[in-house]
């Protein structure tokens, strides 16, 4: 029985969303009105009915949905004069790691404190793992994490994860 399972999640539609300085509240209101989605606070991700919002930086988020969807026009319209939207679908490869051993496995890669006291479901962070820029999100308390990197690094990230240091890892 594997301590941890790993599975690539694809395709993912993603849009980079920015608010102009001071316009974040207005942009948040638009998003809430159109999608019932809250703009995520720093270091967090939110979701509404499969539409995910993850915080990347001040005034900067990424809106995602698994599968192929045409998100950009709706988000350009929602942003309107309060910000801008840029399509970044396919730019990232996302690896879902789940199971009791997944925290230990990520401890090998990420210079982040993933202890439940420091990182919990709906937490998100960008960091670097083995010279690869990554974004990590905790999905649930199993624990399950999503680890995302630029698509061109996917094979290298897979090799880094596979060097499991003694853990039983099952690829799906």
């Amino acid at each position: 029985m594997a301590d941890c399972t790993a599975r690539w999640i694809a395709p993912i539609t993603a849009v980079s969303l920015a608010a102009w300085p001071g316009e974040a509240p207005a942009l948040a209101a638009r998003l809430r009105a159109r999608f019932a989605l809250d703009l995520a606070a720093p270091g967090r991700w939110t979701q509404a009915d499969g539409l995910v919002c993850v915080w990347l930086a001040p005034d900067h988020w990424q809106i995602e949905r698994v599968g192929r969807h045409d998100l950009l026009p709706a988000l350009v319209a929602a942003a309107a004069e309060h910000g801008a939207a840029i399509d970044v679908s396919d730019a990232r490869a996302v690896l879902r790691l789940s199971g009791p051993g997944s925290r230990d496995l990520l401890a090998r890669l990420l210079p982040l404190d993933l202890h439940p006291r420091a990182f919990a479901p709906h937490h998100a962070a960008s960091t670097v793992a083995a010279h690869i820029g990554v974004q990590v999100r905790q999905i649930d308390a199993r624990p399950t994490y999503d680890l995302a990197c630029l698509r061109s690094y996917a094979e290298s990230l897979g090799r880094a994860v596979d060097h499991r240091g003694g853990l039983a890892l099952g690829w799906e």
Binding site: A18, I86, I132
Partner: protein
């Protein structure tokens, strides 16, 4: 057999077989290699570094300077391993080192007779004449003779791991102070990590007979371990040595996962390096015993007094049958008691003190040991094993004593290294006769127990309890300190450093440094502690002077007439113990040394048999060999001609792509680029160059305006990350009020260049859409379904770049090839752009200006942009600066090479005649001869001149003609095709 009948923390119910120098012995689980060898009566372990003197076992810990063996065989062979730190396992194989032909009869022992010539620093005064002998004679000889153990020379077959660990309290060392600290911190609920280098917790408790809370020390350690492991947030890491303290509460430790087994299990790493971040740290690393300096103090059979107790109590081994104990204070008498309690004859006690306390004198009498007060050791005798100890009394007489064990007590050195790694210097304490931790240890660290000079057991436990509790509170966990475990205190004074006069009194046993060498360094002026360390190599071996370093300092202090405090110590730096390089590398070896980036078309290119090259972190196809092509030149020539005469396709996904959106995009681009971009109409592309603020070219690329408020810029592959960071600085720091957002979309799009006179047909076939010239002229851009199309040309031919979402990239390139395009790689791309004189890496080297590259006309005078002011510095406007030209070999045949320098034909090859250099070179199949681009002083004014290309490193000399830097279609008719 030297194994005692009872006692010890070994498992007598099981036997372990091991081999040393080919002979097989048995031991027990719980033994070290050293204790098992002693139990079998083996005391000679190796030959010393310089003089090849016989060496044995001096201590019971990893700090041992003598007991160095080669462990294991084959690719796992590890030299210079202290036998005292090796956990015995079944099937262990070890060899002695540095001896030929055998350990007993070592020819190099002749070095001992040459000793006067081999004193410290001898190599600064020898091997100089005749000069020619250095390479042919001296160096080969020195290489053969030098060194101690031999590395295997084979690739390391084991894997290593690295991991991160965060905690509130890190406790380094699980001796009495560390265990007490862990009890106090653990109960607060804080996240605690307890690191212990040994396989068992307990530290000195495992070596001494002492009582804590009414239990024997070792038993107390075991029950405490059970308590600790029950705390849910406390993690115990055994076989783990913390070897470095770094900034901001960061520590590094190495965990030995499999060194106590013949080899690791499948998938098991051999070692793991932990990077630990701790809010608070308790350093409870204890103390190690000091050497004592006297003539012949390196002979096998001479052992430190505390180590003798460890062999008796922990391993149930008698290190000898007839002992003499030499003590500088009360410390050695504990060993006298321990030996007597185990029935080992103590022939004599040599006490440095003139007045020996009555209780100790009575003990000597009771056990029948002669007592020499106020005495010292004059010499030891014995070929490969101690046989005789010569004692010199206070009144001058010499006594010869028969003994096979000489236990010496010279006091203890607190292990303060980690407290000094951030630059603090330890402080000499006269009362405790030791260097104590610096007054400013690393922020967040407290030192407790023997490491802080608190040598008494009761004191140590109280100190640890307080430190552990304080650390938890400081980390934010309210707690009260528990009642400290109780044990007796020790009021006896500390044993001072003991140096006795005479020849061959060693202070560094790994590098064979004696007291005489310290005196030599003093005579020759190397008196500062950092100087004499390096001059004599004292303290520079793998043990880093843990047992003997302070002796050298004391000797120099005496010679210079300064105090120990004034003399000081050398700086401590990580690692505090040797760490395998493989462990530091972790999995970053071979293919995994660094990550590789693959384009969406990679799998397709690999199927075509492309030859790949590393371009930064990317893998890019260099060329696509076809059946029958045996040389890369054939493939590249074919690909270039296919583009010039038909149509080719190349993967340009690696170039940086940054998309911008927002009303102020144009203004922002005007600030970044040298030319005007806000005036670019929608649906058009413009070439642009960016400068650094010092006026030199940072990068070049294209700017496409897809919508009124949406732009895409390209960068070179190598500079993509740098340009993005540059733009973020420009926006966030310099122009924060501009309403523009931008992100890298390099990985979002797969992008291919389709170039050649048939390019339009191919694009129309792939997009299933007509693209008439009038609707889509040169430098146009647009969107077609999910694809973006740009009519830009790096090759100078009619060309388009087509971008699709990355997941469609593989399918797209196959459709493009099916439509008739010939795949071409990085090499052909290079030849094509050199034929057109387009600057790339060789020219965009960070040292060229826009004017140098022929882009001066693009510099706008109408706006401020990054680099504008500094680009106008007079020296950068000097026409004599090397500027871009083209070159042809005069004989139309000789290959030109980038890096060759340009000189006038008749001038000697000296720097004052240097006029420039070749930046890029290639063979042009279009023209049928080699070509090159170069930067040449006053370049544009010198077309038609003949110069000399000088390349002394490779080919020598070639005559070249200076021409315009554009060899094919200079009017640019093809790309309008």
């Amino acid at each position: 057999m030297m194994r005692l009948a009872a006692g010890g923390l070994i498992d007598r119910s099981r036997s372990v077989r091991f081999a040393f120098d080919g002979r097989v012995y048995t031991g027990h689980p719980g033994d070290t290699l050293a204790s098992a060898l002693l139990a079998n009566g083996v005391r000679l372990l190796g030959r010393s570094f310089k003089y090849h003197r016989p060496r044995g076992i001096m201590t019971a810990g990893p700090e041992d300077p003598c007991a160095l063996v080669e462990l294991r065989t084959g690719a796992r062979r590890e030299p210079n391993t202290p036998a005292t730190a090796v956990e015995l396992f079944d099937g262990l194989e070890a060899q002695s080192q540095n001896r030929f032909p055998s350990l007993r009869f070592d020819l190099m022992a002749a070095n001992g007779w040459l000793a006067p010539l081999l004193a410290a620093g001898f190599y600064y005064k020898t091997f100089m004449w005749p000069a020619g002998w250095w390479e042919r004679v001296y160096e080969p000889l020195i290489r053969r003779a030098a060194g101690l153990g031999r590395a295997s020379g084979l690739p390391d077959p084991d894997t290593y791991d690295r991991a991160h660990l965060f905690c509130d309290v890190l406790i380094i060392g699980a001796g009495p102070a560390g265990l007490a600290a862990a009890l106090a911190a653990g109960r607060s609920g804080a996240r605690v990590v307890l690191c212990e280098a040994d396989a068992r917790l307990g530290g000195r408790l495992l070596a001494e007979t002492c009582e804590i809370d009414g239990q024997p020390g070792a038993a107390w350690a075991t029950s405490t371990e059970a308590t600790l492991r029950a705390f849910p947030e406390l993690r115990v890491l055994t076989r783990t040595t913390v070897f470095g303290a770094y900034d901001h509460g960061t520590y590094a430790a190495v965990e030995r996962l499999a060194d106590h087994q013949p080899f690791p299990d499948a998938h098991q790493p051999r070692e793991r390096v932990w990077r630990i971040v701790a809010k608070r740290t308790v350093l409870a690393a204890g103390a190690v015993e000091r050497l004592v300096a006297f003539p012949g103090n390196d002979r096998p059979g001479v052992m430190l007094a505390g180590a003798v107790r460890c062999y008796l109590n922990r391993y149930a081994v008698a290190p000898g049958q007839t002992a003499v104990v030499a003590t500088g204070g009360a410390e050695g008498w504990r060993t006298v008691e321990a030996l007597a309690a185990r029935g080992i004859r103590v022939a004599a006690v040599v006490d440095r003190r003139a007045e020996v306390p009555p209780a100790q004198a009575a003990l000597a009498q009771r056990i029948g040991a002669r007592l020499f007060a106020g005495a010292r050791i004059g010499a030891t005798r014995g070929a490969t094993n101690l046989r005789t100890v010569i004692v010199e009394g206070a009144t001058g007489g010499a006594q010869r004593l028969t003994a096979d064990l000489l236990a010496v007590a010279g006091g203890w050195n607190p292990q303060v290294q980690l407290a000094c790694h951030l630059g603090g210097r330890p402080v000499w304490d006269e009362t405790r006769a030791a260097f104590l931790p610096p007054t400013t240890p690393p922020p967040g660290m407290e030192v407790a127990g023997a490491a802080a000079g608190r040598f008494g057991l009761g004191e140590s436990l109280r100190d640890g309890t307080r430190a552990g509790s304080d650390a938890a509170v400081a980390a934010g966990f309210a707690t009260t300190a528990p009642e400290p475990p109780s044990a007796p205190d020790d009021d006896t004074p500390a044993t001072p450093i003991w140096l006795m006069p005479g020849r061959k009194a060693f202070v560094d046993l790994q590098h064979d440094v004696t007291m005489d060498d310290i005196a030599l360094a003093h005579r020759e002026g190397f008196r500062a502690v950092e100087h004499f360390k390096r001059y004599t190599t004292h303290g520079m071996a793998t043990d880093q002077g843990k047992t003997g370093g302070v002796l050298g300092m004391a000797a120099m202090a005496a010679l210079t007439g300064r105090s120990m405090a004034e003399t000081g110590t050398t700086l401590h730096r990580p690692p505090s113990t040797p760490v395998a390089i493989g462990a530091l590398a972790g999995r970053h070896r071979g293919k995994d040394f660094r990550p590789t980036r693959l384009t969406p078309g990679h799998a397709w290119a690999a199927e075509q048999g492309a030859s790949f090259v590393e371009s930064g972190v990317w893998l890019r196809a260099q060329w696509f060999p076809r059946a029958g092509e045996t040389e890369w030149q054939q493939s590249v020539d074919r690909e270039v001609l296919a583009v010039r005469n038909g149509v080719g396709v190349s993967d340009v996904s690696t170039l940086g792509k940054i998309e911008l959106a927002g009303p102020d995009g144009g203004a922002f681009l005007d600030f970044l680029y040298i030319n005007m971009l806000s005036t670019l109409p929608v649906g058009r592309v413009r070439y642009g160059a960016m400068l650094r603020e010092d006026g030199f070219v940072l990068d070049d690329g294209t700017v496409a305006r897809l919508e009124a408020e949406r732009w895409v810029i390209t960068t070179t592959t190598a500079n993509a990350a740098r340009v993005l960071a540059h733009m973020e600085f420009a926006h966030q720091v310099l122009r924060p009020n501009l309403r523009v957002a931008f992100v890298s979309v390099t990985d979002r799009w797969a992008q291919y260049a389709v170039a050649g006179k048939r390019a339009r047909e191919v694009i129309q076939a792939v997009l299933e859409h007509a693209i008439p010239d009038a609707a889509f002229p040169a430098m146009a851009c647009g969107t077609f379904g999910s694809a973006r199309l740009f009519r830009i040309s790096f090759s100078g031919e009619l060309a388009y770049e087509i971008a699709v979402p990355a997941r469609e990239g593989d399918a797209l390139v196959r459709r493009i090839v099916a439509a008739g395009a010939v795949p071409y790689g990085l090499e052909a791309l290079g030849v094509l752009r050199i034929e057109k004189g387009h600057p790339a890496g060789g020219e965009l080297n960070g040292q060229t200006t826009a004017r140098d590259l022929g882009l001066g006309r693009l510099l706008s005078a109408r706006k401020d942009f990054i680099g504008r002011a500094m680009a106008l510095r007079p020296a950068l406007l000097d026409p004599a600066r090397p500027t871009l030209v083209g070159l042809r070999p005069a004989d139309r045949r000789t290959r030109l090479r980038a890096g060759a320098h340009l000189l006038p034909r008749d001038a000697p090859a000296r720097i004052e005649h240097d006029q420039g250099w070749i930046t890029s070179a290639a063979f042009s199949p279009t023209l049928g001869h080699p070509i090159a681009l170069a930067l040449l002083t006053n370049g544009p004014a010198r077309h038609g001149e003949r110069l000399r290309a000088h390349d002394p490193v490779r080919d020598g000399e070639t005559e070249v003609d200076v021409v315009e830097p554009c060899f094919v279609d200079p009017e640019g008719l093809r790309l309008r095709g």
